[in-house]
Symmetry: C2
Subunit: 220 residues, 2 copies
């Protein structure tokens, strides 16, 4: 079955206090985004890679690919004003039914096993995502009062979020809002169940300078 | 006003896949627990430090203090069968009213500012804890079905959790269960409100080998 991965990299560098968007920061001497793409290529060298980037970063990315001799085949499409639009732009490049993973460009430590498991479950059930247990104490706070909140039934969501292409495209087409923090929620809103698999704990999202330091250590 | 900190260090080394309990692992050439105690000493050199350790680790800790020339005054008391009992044993050493912080022995990166803020709010309102925003997508899963869970009103709890001594001692004395993941919940169950302050993001709990690597980077 045809496989796709839409790698969403919309960072503009603000949260990193950096001029360089976080997806281009160097991790072990190579831009984060290249590490991320390589994980999916290692999973399946036939996978169709679609990278969603802010349009103003196209030239910079092209230059990086030359500078770093990055040869994994991929297509690039423009990001939208929010995550929903960015993913939708990526989905527009899908031209054959199959399975599609949506993955954060700044999650370069996803394991091959996590990718395999989510693709496998999605191919059977239509929709699968990796999660990890919540290990911290939580409080519910609406700004006024606050109270202890039971963590036992909460899971922390990772990516790749993997779906049958027809299912995800239809869910995005029929969504009545664009206010989603992940793709599983778009599909759920369309009335489908999501299968949870255990992700790998190192599969963190690089969003702060601290995360980048962690990343360096993970790779060394 | 008299200040106390009860540093709870109950680790036995299992989650670290290590023979050395996590509170004794070396971080920048010094046991984690010593870094932690130093933060509170830097906040106030008059603070009364109570360390709760498994009884079988007393001798090892004493030896470490000699080996590392660790001279911050502190008392040691034995941990109990669970977190609740361990904190209660620490509270038993309080002999004068004041303010008490309960802190995880494996959170060596708490900032002086976080300590100051929580002590300040607790001295006014009786109970204060540091929290951070939830930045990840969540799902509620009871083993059967699962669904997207709104993270907007959830805060991730850190330590130090700081209280007026009389308030905390009474809450622990009157608790009808021992099944608590933190001290704020014990106090809340006694009918008191908890004030939330913003903790520092580096204030992570060292529970995995990965966290220790992060810690090394944070200190370098």
């Amino acid at each position: 079955m045809k496989k796709y991965v839409i790698v969403v990299a919309g960072g503009t560098g603000q949260r990193m206090n950096s001029d360089i968007p976080k997806q281009f920061l160097l991790l072990a001497h190579k831009p984060v985004l290249m590490h991320t793409i390589q994980r999916f290529y290692a999973f399946d060298s036939e996978i169709d890679v679609i990278v969603v980037l802010p349009q103003e970063q196209f030239n910079y990315w092209e230059k990086l690919c030359l500078d770093y001799d990055f040869s994994i085949p991929h297509r690039v499409t423009a990001g939208g004003v929010n995550r929903f639009r960015s993913v939708k732009n990526g989905l527009a490049l899908i031209n054959e039914s199959g399975i599609v993973a949506i993955h954060d460009g700044v999650r370069p430590f996803v394991s091959i096993e996590t990718i395999e498991k989510t693709f496998h479950k999605a191919s059977i059930f239509g929709a699968a995502i990796p999660v990890r247990d919540m290990v911290e104490s939580l409080r519910y706070s609406n700004g006024g009062s606050n109270y202890a909140f039971n963590r036992d039934f909460l899971k922390v969501v990772q990516t790749p979020q993997v779906f049958k292409t027809d299912l995800l495209i239809e869910a995005y087409a029929n969504a009545t809002t664009e206010d989603f923090t992940d793709d599983a929620t778009v599909v759920e809103r369309a009335g489908k169940n999501i299968v949870l698999v255990n992700g790998n704990p190192e599969n963190i999202k690089i969003t702060t300078p601290l995360d980048l330091l962690i990343g360096e250590k993970l790779l060394s």
